[in-house]
């Protein structure tokens, strides 16, 4: 009985800790994803009509770019309402 209660309290406190840590890192996560998006956009600029680096550079790095390309696609989907996105990120309701 006591040990079960102890486990629950412990899990509760752990969750609070995780939530706080996640909240604290949230903005940095957004910044990181934006940077990854920019990286992919610069490298694969020709997709969107941007000036792009020499083609072979994109070809050289393509095999390692899965994550960045996924973020690029996610950003492309959500860019209709970037203002709402940013407000959500910085906690304005």
């Amino acid at each position: 009985m006591i040990s079960s209660l102890y486990r629950r309290v412990r899990r509760f406190l752990t969750n609070i800790d995780a939530t706080h840590r996640q909240k604290a890192a949230a903005l940095t996560v957004v910044e990181m994803e934006e940077l990854e998006n920019i990286f992919a956009l610069l490298l694969m600029g020709s997709f969107t009509g941007l000036p792009s680096p020499p083609t072979f550079l994109a070809v050289e790095l393509l095999p390692f770019m899965e994550r960045e390309l996924r973020i690029l696609c996610k950003r492309a989907e959500s860019c209709n309402d970037m203002l709402a996105e940013m407000c959500g990120t910085i906690g304005i309701d």
Binding site: M32, F39, P54
Partner: protein, 310 residues
């Protein structure tokens, strides 16, 4: 080892002049002459079939024509292999062969040319001179500019990549690992495949850039005594100056007796464009027109290497 690039407008006689200089230098030195022009005629000039392999013409003169198509194909095959390895699971549903479409990527020729120069310089270091006969101005300037443009792009990409890794590290420090299923993103420079690849590429291009801009490399500009040739040479000189590539010799080729005034005019314009660069004059060879049995690399004039003139 000295490196010479023969450049100029199409049809001015770059191949003939490079062949003639290579032949003359081979009396004293060990020479390799390499044709980078997709429309090769090095074999025609020396009257041999080259088949894209190094050919021994004399003990001190070797000839080679670069097979641009094969280089492009090899490069893209290599990249396609890496990509197919990464997406190996696609093999189970037979979709991996769709990556073969990469072979139609534009802009690969310049890269393939540059790679062939890099490989030649690395592997053929028992020669005293390597003479490159290049394609006409446009393509030549594009591939000579490639190391510089690429390093500029790579620098910027490395900077962004470092920022990404720094953010990843910060996130890891704040948040740690939330559960067992979470994949930890690499934040160390030595663990990041993209950064490692970028650094390796930068190293290669910086080395190549420093060779091309160095003391032992020289660009020889071949032109004809006519206005079009003069205008294109001006563009080429501007391009070389921007890329900090060392122009070392000018050759005014195909001078005819009756047009010497024009030749003088073009030479004086070239002296203004590139002061202190020596000019050599080569007369138009009548033997080429009247069908005499003449070897094309044999010219009457003595072509001095710009490195000998010092």
């Amino acid at each position: 080892m000295k490196i010479l690039f023969f450049t100029g407008k199409g049809g001015v006689g770059k191949s003939t002049m490079s062949a003639a200089m290579a032949r003359q230098l081979s009396q004293q030195y060990r020479i390799l002459i390499v044709s980078l022009d997709p429309a090769h005629n090095l074999g025609d000039i020396f009257g041999v079939a080259l088949n894209h392999k190094k050919h021994r013409f004399t003990d001190s003169l070797y000839l080679k024509e670069i097979n641009l198509q094969k280089l492009c194909r090899d490069y893209l095959q290599r990249e396609t292999r890496v990509l197919t390895d990464t997406y190996r699971y696609l093999q189970t549903i037979n979709l991996d062969n769709y990556f073969s479409v990469l072979k139609y990527s534009p802009g690969i020729e310049e890269y393939a040319l540059l790679t062939s120069i890099e490989e030649t310089l690395r592997s053929e270091n028992d020669f005293d001179y390597i003479v490159f006969d290049t394609p006409p101005t446009g393509l030549t300037l594009r591939f000579l500019a490639l190391p510089w443009i690429t390093v500029t792009w790579i620098d910027r990409l490395i900077q962004i990549r470092r920022d990404i890794l720094e953010k990843r590290h910060t996130i890891y420090r704040i948040r740690g690992v939330l559960d067992d299923k979470e994949t930890i993103l690499s934040y160390d420079e030595d663990d990041d495949d993209i950064l490692k690849r970028l650094k390796k590429l930068k190293g290669n291009y910086q080395t190549l850039s420093s060779i091309l801009q160095g003391e032992d490399c020289g660009i020889v500009l071949v032109y004809n005594p006519d206005t079009l040739s003069l205008k294109e040479s001006k563009r080429l000189i501007d391009g070389l100056y921007e890329l900090k590539l060392p122009l070392r010799l000018l050759i005014n080729n195909k001078i005819q007796q009756k047009y010497t005034a024009m030749a003088d005019h073009v030479d004086s314009a070239m002296r203004t464009l590139a002061p202190a660069i020596p000019i050599q004059r080569v007369a138009f060879s009548e033997a080429l027109l009247d069908g005499q049995n003449s070897t094309l690399y044999d010219i009457e004039e003595t072509l001095l290497s710009p490195f000998e003139m010092k």
